[in-house]
Amino acid sequence: LTRSSEAESEKWTLSIAETCIKAALVAEQNVKDYEKALSFLNEALHHRPRHEGASIALGRLYIKLQNPTSAQQHLNALLEENPNSVEASELMADLMFNSASFQSAVFHYHKLLEKNPGNFEIMAKYIQVCKRIGKLELMEDLLMKEDSPAVRFKLSPGYHYCRGLYFRSVSKLNDAMREFVLCKRDSIWGERTLCMMVDIFLNPGNETIGGDALEGAIDNSASTSNLNTEAEMLGVVAAGRLLKVYDIYTGF
């Protein structure tokens, strides 16, 4: 092969791989044919064995299909090749989170956050995992202290979302609201912020809505009728207004 034809074939395989990735995306998201998506991604990797986007997409698909063994094999190979890949390590941590191996997930997320203190997508997941193992204090150093590494990014909406998440988890609702207000208009964080705010309005005490096994046992004097108290009513109205404003913004 001459040099020019080598470059040519290089170009071709790349474009084939990229087409395959796009096809996989369509198969996965629009047609919901996951087998097809898998085979497209494998084909992309066949032409371009080291294509990072394809490998990451494949790993993500394995996780989505609840196929932890294949995902782990695949991600291990990826990390061996490129130990510093943030995306691959994040996927690894997600895999652990998804299969409820919270201790390993904490380990992976923590390592990632030490290197990328401003990555709030990872931070949000880290908070969730810490909550699940009942050790929320693990993340306080990274986010809540005055000299936390994340404070440098305090202009980022993600920073406020994560702080709100923390305050919500420790039942400091007013503080949580103060943080959420700052990020509710953001295009990336807005929607989940809204979900959190509506949840606080509708159910500040994290009650089991619709369940009343505990009722009456708590306080016999409280009325157990179906009528709303005034505070509840206000919460519902506020939640409705939030969503209405959001609809106007997005035109949805």
């Binding site: 796009k22 995306l25 369509v26 996965e28 998201q29 629009n30 609840q66 997600d94 989170f97 998804n98 409820a100 997941k125 969730q128 909550k131 699940r132 193992i133 009942g134 929320l136 988890s169 420790v170 039942s171 929607e191 809204l194 979900c195 509506v198 509708l202 005490g205 994290n206 009650e207 089991t208 809505i209 619709g210 369940g211 009343d212 096994a213 505990l214 046992a217 708590i218 306080d219 004097s221 179906n226 009528l227 709303n228 509840e232 919460g235 519902v236 939640a239 409705g240 969503l243 959001y246 949805f252």
Partner: protein, 210 residues
Amino acid sequence: MIFIQDSDYKNSLRMQILECHVMMGSKQKEEIERAISIQMEVLNSEREYIPAIYGTAVGFMLLKQTPRARNQLKRLGKTEWNMEFADEIEKSWLLLADIYIQGGKYDLAIDLLKKVTAVNQSCSKAWEYLGFIMEKEHAYKDAAEHYHKCWVLERQSNPAIGFKLAFNYLKAKRYTDAIDISHAVLHSFPDYPKIEKEILQKARSNLRFP
């Protein structure tokens, strides 16, 4: 790309369900029914969409149609826990446990609640339910332990939990603990009813006459 991105579509679904929850929050019959029918439509196109399954179950519970709610929730019995719908799955398990407790099926409820605490140690509600069941079975010592977890998790902000914890300490003959908790409750909620008379005074008199 011209195709609607999956994530956008999913999120708009999520917002739709959120709106349904707001409707159901009004607790008016027509609104609840409307919310249920919207969510049923979602389920027609996305058969296993967990937030919609949970939402309809809540609606049926609010309409006091417990059997229909239970049937919805049972669909989630075999779902494996995953991080995308973690909150909805947990809430569904809690609601189903609540239904079982109301029907007196404590064993089934305990299984579900253990499943919840396995994936979320910080779920104070699950600890509360477990404490409730143990109190009903007169296992006051165990009940107190579970209520204690709940009390700590909510950072001592819930006087009702404090009351129950103190009550179970009293029943378990741990009088000093009962007194400590009563003081903690009265410190933050000076007007909280009954706790002074029913727990503090009883615990004190028991301490005096062993």
